[in-house]
Point group: C2
Chain length 362, copies 2
């Protein structure tokens, strides 16, 4: 059981996404990297570090030297201090332009490692080995790397493509249930913005998905990777509008994430943001009430939150203004023209958003 | 009087190099950037800041807002602290993905500004406006950006292309004479590695060059830019060996620069490094004694140093070992097969280098 997707960049083959259930094909693909004279540094966090026990001996057989850099898990580590510690670690071990990094972990590990890889000696190769559902279907694909800076999320970063994205489904079995389900936020979003049939499939298969049924997982992750792949291939640097569609549910989702001080998971906040975006899409006459309710139902089926207590509409709307400033004073709000078809709407006002929060902020 | 070179990246048009003697064409080219809704931050250092007095009012007419970020001149500023100050400056002024930076100054300004541009919000546009001879013919072209890190030169950086390289020859008139002449180190190197006829032209026109004769300068800078352009177009990320040829004179030049604690200018140290590389090329039987002596003569004609007092061969050879470690333990020494034709030689030993330093280190 294994799937491979070939991702292009600028219409040329760039890297593969390899999905399997054990490490068998991974080691054979690693051989193609001609590692015998190269060093690998596995970058991971304190939650995922235990997985290096299995990986290190196997990778050691293929390359010159393996080292492991572990940092404390969590968004609080996604900053330039951690990048510096990694620079120092690499310098100490004489890492040169031919050596490579392997990001083993969730989105924080991938973003931070990718950014370090993009800037160490003007760029060395790196492999994404995402271990959370969220990073497998979202952050590991498309070359967005970066770290937070003085409270600004992803303020410092680079577009820098990995040399391989390797997804091992078995890592999902050790993922905390809540974190696993939060990944469903982005997956259902993929259905919302691009594929009505996939949305129906998710609705029909939610029990198997929640039970981590392997063939179901493989299909789901592959389909979500394909959707993300198609978007980033068309608009790799978010200049054409297409990549912005991935932000469906994120304008208010990000704001809610910030207002609850990151006590809720990203996918959970995106789920709530999707509810608001569905409501706005209905209010603006794009989608029917039934479609809106069907969308919300699927989120609920995945045990994702569709409302939240303890934060005010004012604080949420205020937090969206930061996003706004970052693109010529216009809010590029993503709405659905129909289920499976998203578009940018620059006419959505603060009042529209405020209305959508009614019944969502408890 | 104006010349334009069109630089490709990945076989596609990427940016222009515009060479002129006043700012006339610059302002008309800026109009093509559709600046009316965009902000520009001019990044400059304490030596060059006075030039903003002329620039700011003219650029103000073309864009939404102009600001000036000035930092203390010198290599000591080329670090991540300065990058942070610039991030903070941009965040405070709400710079978004559509705004741009203009690097007004020498190599330090260009490298630091380019790196900031490459990482702020995952990359914003920047214009190189090199004001030193060295940066006009070398560092502003080819997309190498970066800063020093804990004493390691250019350890942190990115390949990131500018949107325009604008060279105003009049800036050379205010450049200190010694700094101007040090730029000749890289220019003569261009002749050494790629163009024997250009080398002869430099030899024949050295008096006019030293007198800053404008038509002579224009031809020289254009020809050097063309040589640099051809190399970086063929090998943009220094992976094919071609771009390594630009390092002629740099293995020992860099080491000497380090050993004299950067009290000599980069171009001056490159000149001394070129002498050693010419001597090694002769000792290895690649070039004749006459060619070696002719090469050294041209460096001398440009008032460039061909020897240096007060540093030991041991310290120089030791300093080259750092470079070495950065590329799989092999020294990629650049030799000349003939004047105008450089090549990589991986068989040059520490002993060979030691011999070449005899008579050079006084």
């Amino acid at each position: 059981m294994a799937s491979t997707l070939h991702v292009n960049y600028d219409n040329k083959p760039c890297y593969d996404i390899l999905i399997e259930n054990d490490y068998e094909r991974f080691y054979s693909v690693l051989k193609d990297f001609n590692l015998s004279e190269r060093k690998i540094c596995i970058v991971t966090d304190s939650n995922v570090a235990f997985k290096t026990e299995e990986l290190v001996p196997n990778i050691e057989n293929l390359c010159k030297e393996v080292s492991v850099f572990t940092f404390p898990a969590g968004e609080a580590s996604k900053n330039l201090d951690t990048v510096y510690e990694l620079y120092d670690f690499l310098i100490k071990r004489n890492f040169d332009r031919n050596d490579l990094l392997l990001a083993l972990g969730g989105g924080v590990v991938g973003d931070m490692t990718g950014f370090t890889a993009s800037t160490y000696l003007r760029g060395i190769k790196f492999i994404q080995m995402p271990t959370s559902l969220l990073s497998q279907v979202d952050s590991s694909i498309g070359g967005k790397t970066g770290v937070d800076y003085k409270g600004y999320k992803n303020m410092v970063g680079a577009f820098y493509q990995p040399s391989l994205v390797y997804i091992n489904l078995s890592t999902l079995k050790t993922l905390p249930k809540r974190e696993y389900l939060s990944g469903m936020g982005e997956i259902i979003k993929h259905g919302f913005i691009k594929d009505r049939a996939y949305l129906d499939w998710l609705n029909d298969n939610m029990d198997k998905i929640k039970a981590l049924d392997l063939p179901t997982l493989e299909y789901m992750i592959k389909r979500s990777c394909e959707i993300k792949q198609a978007v980033v291939e068309y608009d790799p640097k978010e200049t054409l509008g297409e990549r912005a569609l991935l932000n469906f549910g994120h304008t208010l989702g990000h704001a809610i994430e910030k207002c609850c001080n990151f006590t809720n998971l990203h996918g959970e906040c995106v789920s709530i943001g999707c509810v608001c975006a569905l409501k706005i899409s209905y209010a603006k006459g794009y989608i029917s009430k039934e479609d809106m309710e069907y969308g919300i139902l699927i989120l609920k089926k995945a045990n994702l939150p569709t409302d939240i207590k303890g934060i005010s509409a004012d604080s949420v709307l205020n937090a969206t203004k930061h996003d706004k400033k970052m693109d010529s004073n216009k809010i590029k709000f993503i709405i659905l023209k129909s289920l499976g078809d998203a578009a940018i709407d620059t006419e959505i006002t603060i009042d529209d958003m405020n209305e959508s929060l009614e019944g969502v902020l408890l």
